[in-house]
């Protein structure tokens, strides 16, 4: 066993919740130790079922083992969790290429290129596909599907019917992984994953603060920002809900909206059990 693998394995053994499995799994995959890489990836997925990178890792291992059907499912799941995951877009492009669907392959690469224009591997992949297809020059952008049209079919919406369900409500699990909803800035940028990462510790901090001050359990955390307001709550003990609105929605109304969203989240979580 190499030092790197030994060191990463040791780290994972000490902290099974650690995200180090991603590095370890990738290292094993690169060394073509597929059985061990699979075990590491599945170990990670058991603990981080909503982590896009975990599905991406497993998909890469499956693809290397020529299990393209399941690799497709894993990359599809990756995109459901993180629609802008370039690894998954490139992976799906590869799978479409393998089955001869060059239009879909190129469309997925175009989507990846829009997200990561400086990624040199995308250019290389384009060259391979165009060589295979006998294409020359750029494919007109308008002839290709948009990123939105490539997005996977949405799962049953957590917040269906609620105001701003598509962009201002976010449901996380206890580890800060996205369960549903999405957040966008006023400019339309998707900030779901970033905000989720920052919120991961908020619940724990709020619980500590409330308990150490003898204030019992916390019920909600609201904040006013320069351009909008947020409300963070706990629909269940193992989940966290963020509601975000612009400043035209007063904090009091935001709190009411958060209550409705929490009810919807509880019902949705119950259905998932």
């Amino acid at each position: 066993m190499s030092d790197d693998v030994k060191s990463l394995s040791g780290e994972l053994a000490r902290d099974p919740q650690s995200l180090v499995f991603l590095r370890l799994g990738e290292l094993l995959r690169q060394r073509r130790q597929f059985d061990t890489a699979t075990r590491v990836a599945l170990h990670g997925l058991e603990r981080h079922a909503h982590l896009a990178d975990a599905h991406d890792l497993y998909a890469r291992i499956l693809a290397d083992r020529h299990d393209y059907e399941h690799a497709f499912d894993e990359w599809d799941m990756t995109l459901r969790i993180a629609p802008h995951h370039t690894g998954a877009l490139k992976g799906l492009a590869f799978l479409y290429f393998k089955v001869g669907d060059l239009t879909q392959a190129e469309a997925h690469l175009q989507a990846a290129h829009r997200i990561a224009p400086d990624d040199p591997t995308i250019g290389q992949a384009f060259a391979v596909i165009r060589g295979e297809a006998g294409l020359s020059g750029e494919v007109p952008a308008e002839a290709l599907p948009t990123a939105e049209s490539l997005a996977p079919i949405p799962e049953p919406r957590v917040f269906a019917g609620l105001e701003g369900a598509q962009e201002g409500l976010l449901l996380l699990d206890g580890a800060g992984m996205v369960l549903g909803g999405a957040l966008k800035t006023a400019d339309g940028d998707d900030v779901t994953e970033t905000v989720a990462a920052y919120l991961a510790g908020v619940s724990h901090e709020a619980t500590r603060t409330a308990r150490l001050l003898g204030l019992g359990d916390w019920r909600g955390l609201s904040a006013e920002g320069q351009s909008g307001h947020v409300h963070v709550g706990q629909p269940t003990t193992e989940s966290m809900l963020l509601v975000m609105r612009d400043r035209s929605v007063p904090l009091g109304r935001l709190s009411l909206l958060a209550q409705r969203a929490a009810q919807a989240a509880r019902r949705w979580l119950e259905r998932q059990r």
Binding site: L183, T185, A186, D187, D189, V191, T194, V195, Y198, L199, G201, V202, E205, A206, R208, T209, A210, L212, L213, G214, L215, G216, D217, W218, R219, G220, L221, S222, A223, E224, G225, Q226, S227, G228, H229, V230, V232, L242, M244, L251
Partner: protein
């Protein structure tokens, strides 16, 4: 300077239902000035509030909402409210559950202006 902060805190603690108020350094969570009822641990309030508001502030910045201007932690038996003040400070209030939050917010903002 200490007198200035204490006068600012007076504005907050005179509101009915406020159990204490303090000025806290945002960067390290240390107490700068405090007026607290017996039983409230100032250093605990300061450290935890600075940490919690900092975390939420980062999430809000990432969401494009800009810097936070008011935080409100609602709990079963009370609340913690905070506003930013100049020079990297927070003005924080610990309250009973039945308190006029709007009034406390107003006084916190006035205190922050006075302290800043």
């Amino acid at each position: 300077m200490s007198g200035l902060y204490m006068r600012a805190l007076d504005m907050v603690t005179r509101v009915r239902g406020v159990r204490g108020a303090m000025v806290v350094a945002r960067s390290d969570g240390l107490v700068v000035a405090e007026q607290l009822m017996e039983g409230i641990k100032g250093s605990t309030v300061a450290a935890l509030t600075a940490s919690l508001t900092g975390r939420l502030q980062r999430a809000m910045m990432a969401a494009g909402l800009g810097p936070s201007q008011f935080w409100h932690l609602q709990c079963e038996s009370g609340a913690v409210l905070a506003v930013p003040a100049g020079e990297g400070l927070l003005v924080v209030a610990v309250t009973e559950p039945e308190v006029n939050v709007g009034l406390v917010r107003l006084e916190l903002l006035r205190a922050a202006e006075a302290a800043g």
